[in-house]
Symmetry: C2
Subunit: 201 residues, 2 copies
């Protein structure tokens, strides 16, 4: 097998890359400068070896603690629980949250055989106990598995004297009501906000 | 910038990879074994450094000459002219051609400022002169640029006493006639084959 065939094969193993895409990428790699190919190659190794998870929240970092955990200006009494570290930049970009995070590392899934002890739930309960947390916001996906996980985590946090909330489900901003399904519309109506105060009713 | 951010950035530069795909791939690379990441990284470098172009036909190879040029069982008097080396495996897989190839390295394109002297046309004319070629099959794309290039190359080979042919344009096998455009249908009719002999009329 040639080095080129091996390259195509390796790229085909990446998620979302089929035969045609792998070929297109291989063609590109043969065309670019040797240095640029070296940089791509190096970026893979470096990201793999340097990136680790934050000891406290599970976010991706190159140090012991992540940038958010190290930032004293973040609200230390709020924890936003997400499925994966990659969800954090999405929420950060939205700019509406100033607290800390906690990465579960997945969702409960009987189908994919993911049980509660494989998620970082015990670690979350410990944090709530030790960090003086006042609110935990459950920001798992609005899928069945995400909802189940949120309910399970909420159950584990019960009786700890903190507020446990769930991100709102509703019509995506900019979306036509006609494109939303009934469950979403029903959630959007139940979670409606009063327009005079701007507060949730 | 973190190593992870750099990885995402590098992947975004690859053709057909957007922000979301780059993130998905980065997530995958962080999850796989270190060895597998190393293999992917190495595959890029190796393909880039080992792959070169065949001195004779321009096909991709790791040696001076490509597998096809080195194979004495190939018909030495036929040359199939293609735009890119990546077109060769497509034709090989079809299994209908036993001759040699010649890679132009692109198509004539006033839009992208590709002129005739940037394509390996002189090399083709030299080969035809020296190799006892009897037929040159022009297998450039059925696009405007591919057709223009085929006509130009045919012009350069005029008067050399060889047969110059163009691959047939027509209805793709398995495709509904209703989906074909008028130009394709017109080409398909003009290029019709007689059913009793199987030969082109």
């Amino acid at each position: 097998m040639t080095a080129l065939a091996r390259l195509i094969q390796r790229f085909k193993q990446l998620p979302g890359i089929g035969e045609k895409s792998a070929q297109r990428i291989a063609r590109y790699i043969l065309r670019i400068e040797h240095e640029d190919a070296a940089r791509l190659s190096e970026a893979i190794l470096e990201a793999r070896s340097r990136t680790r998870t934050c000891r406290r929240c599970g976010n991706l970092t190159e140090d012991e603690f992540c940038e958010i955990c190290k930032d004293p200006s973040r609200v230390q009494t709020e924890i936003c629980v997400v499925e994966e570290a990659f969800d954090i930049p999405l929420i950060e970009r939205a700019g509406a949250y100033q607290g800390l995070y906690h990465v579960l590392g997945g969702v409960l899934s009987p189908m994919e055989d993911v049980s509660a002890d494989e998620l970082r739930i015990t670690e979350l309960v410990e944090r709530v106990k030790n960090e003086g947390t006042k609110e935990v916001i459950l920001a798992t996906s609005a899928t069945t598995e995400g909802e189940t996980t949120a309910l399970y985590v909420a159950g584990q946090l019960k009786g700890m004297g903190i507020r446990v909330s769930r991100i709102a489900r509703g019509i995506p901003v900019g979306a036509d009501l006609g494109l939303a399904d009934e469950v979403t519309i029903s959630k959007a109506i139940r979670g409606r906000e009063s327009l005079d105060s701007g507060e949730r009713t």
